[in-house]
């Protein structure tokens, strides 16, 4: 795999191999062990499934704006 991080002229790290560079293998192995032992059930719900009504978004947007305006006025 070679050198994992290489510094460029500016001194920044250039990423060569993410996995073994920063996440050392010990952490990964331990984490995989924990996953096996935890009996985890994947959640069925995804973020894409979430829907919010447009009317509520509009209401919330105006409510937030009014709240910010009020806050600014009170701070003056």
């Amino acid at each position: 795999m070679g050198k994992l991080f290489q510094r460029n002229l500016a001194g920044n790290f250039r990423l060569r191999d993410v996995r073994s560079a920063s996440m050392n293998q010990t952490i990964l192995n331990k984490a995989e062990g924990k996953v096996r032992n935890a009996g985890i059930l994947p959640v069925g719900l995804t973020f894409a499934d979430i829907k919010v009504s447009k009317v509520y978004i509009l209401f919330f947007r105006y409510y937030s704006k009014a709240k910010r305006k009020m806050g600014r006025m009170l701070n003056k």
């Binding site: 996440m23 996953v35 973020f47 509520y56 919330f60």
Partner: protein, 353 residues
């Protein structure tokens, strides 16, 4: 005396680019430059530093440092000046992230990219916050010299007093683990992935934990509401959205954080990583865009989005004191790289070229 003219679209109080602009302004004067700042929008608290863009009168020998980070009418206007034009590229969030939530932001971002391409032949030099930003510009056709200099951070600001109420409320060592992410509520930051990681962490590894999402959601209310509903439907009652808060409150959240979890998919630099290093908060971050190069080896870098594995990694890290102190040492070392003196000097020498 040479005049350095910094121009930016919005000169905002407390944001990374605003602070970077002020840091250059404050420090470059001592290096033999006269410095002025011009912007379209100026926060009232910064009015002593800057003037409206319209007031700028070009003089021979001016050097323009243009901070490019969004779509703006100024992006094309700066091309009309005859002075040396140096672009300080802070990156633009791709419009694809905004499209489902705010078409205006998506359009602004798309026009920002068009403008960045337009400036490719006009720029005399570019200073990019990261190699990632530099490579993006090369892909856009920039052939001028491009140098990477990280965003200038004034660590003195972090030494100011944190908010006491929040410190007391969320104090470390009260038995509850604080997982924190700092960054505006925005689709590129992928707070939904942070929430899902946290769901597995709190449900299977550490029920005595909470997630604090620090950041404002202005103009992205639809995304915020979707996140809030997601939290409710996952049955989580230990997730806090702070909304827009004061700097002293942000400091308090860093002071009380046990771990910074970042799942962002687009960052031109990612200031919160450096802030977390400053506060010795261990970091777990997904290796996208510039995240890997900013983090270096000072945290756990994830090369895949696997929420279950990420939750387990968080648990491994947080329950191993030796690992934690190893990473804190690495953070201390990495933080030294971001100390501003050498980078200000570098910017000065680049401006003098």
């Amino acid at each position: 005396m040479k005049r350095l003219i910094q121009i930016l679209d919005s000169f905002s109080y407390g944001d990374a680019i605003g602070n970077h602009t002020i840091a250059i302004y404050a420090r470059i004067k001592s290096k033999g430059f006269e410095c002025k700042i011009y912007a379209d929008l100026i926060d009232q608290r910064l009015i002593s530093y800057a003037e409206k863009f319209e007031n700028y009168q070009e003089e021979p020998g001016d050097i323009i440092l243009y901070h490019l980070s969004t779509g703006s009418r100024l992006n094309r206007k700066v091309a009309d000046f005859h002075s040396k034009l140096i672009i300080n590229y802070h990156n633009i969030t791709p419009s694809i992230f905004f499209k489902p939530y705010n078409s205006v932001l998506a359009d602004i971002s798309a026009s920002g990219y068009e403008d960045a391409r337009f400036l490719a032949d006009r720029a005399d030099m570019v200073i990019a916050d990261s190699d990632y930003n530099a490579s993006e510009l090369r892909k856009m056709g920039y052939s001028c010299p491009i140098y990477t200099v990280p965003i200038i951070m004034n660590f003195d600001d972090y030494r100011t007093a944190p908010d006491k109420t929040i410190l007391n409320q969320f104090v470390r060592s009260n038995g509850i683990t604080n997982i924190v992410f700092v960054g505006r509520i925005a689709p590129n930051k992928k707070q939904e992935d942070v929430i899902l990681d946290f769901y597995y962490y709190t449900k299977y590894f550490n029920p005595d934990s909470r997630l604090i999402l620090v950041g404002n959601y202005n103009n992205l209310e639809s995304y915020f509401l979707k996140l809030r509903k997601y939290v409710r439907q996952l049955g989580l009652n230990n997730v806090i959205f702070t909304g827009h808060i004061k700097f002293s409150e942000i400091l308090a959240y860093y002071k009380t954080a046990d771990l910074l979890l970042c799942e962002s998919e687009h960052e031109g630099f990612c200031v919160p990583l450096v802030e977390a290093m400053y506060f010795c908060v261990p970091i777990v971050a997904y290796a996208s865009s510039a995240v890997g190069e900013t983090l270096g080896n000072a945290g756990v870098l994830l090369n895949e989005k696997d929420p279950i594995k990420t939750a387990a990694i968080m648990d491994v890290l947080l329950s191993d004191q030796q690992l934690l102190s190893d990473y804190r040492l690495k953070e201390e070392k990495r933080l030294k790289y971001f100390e501003s003196d050498k980078h200000i000097s570098r910017i000065c020498s680049l401006l003098s070229e």
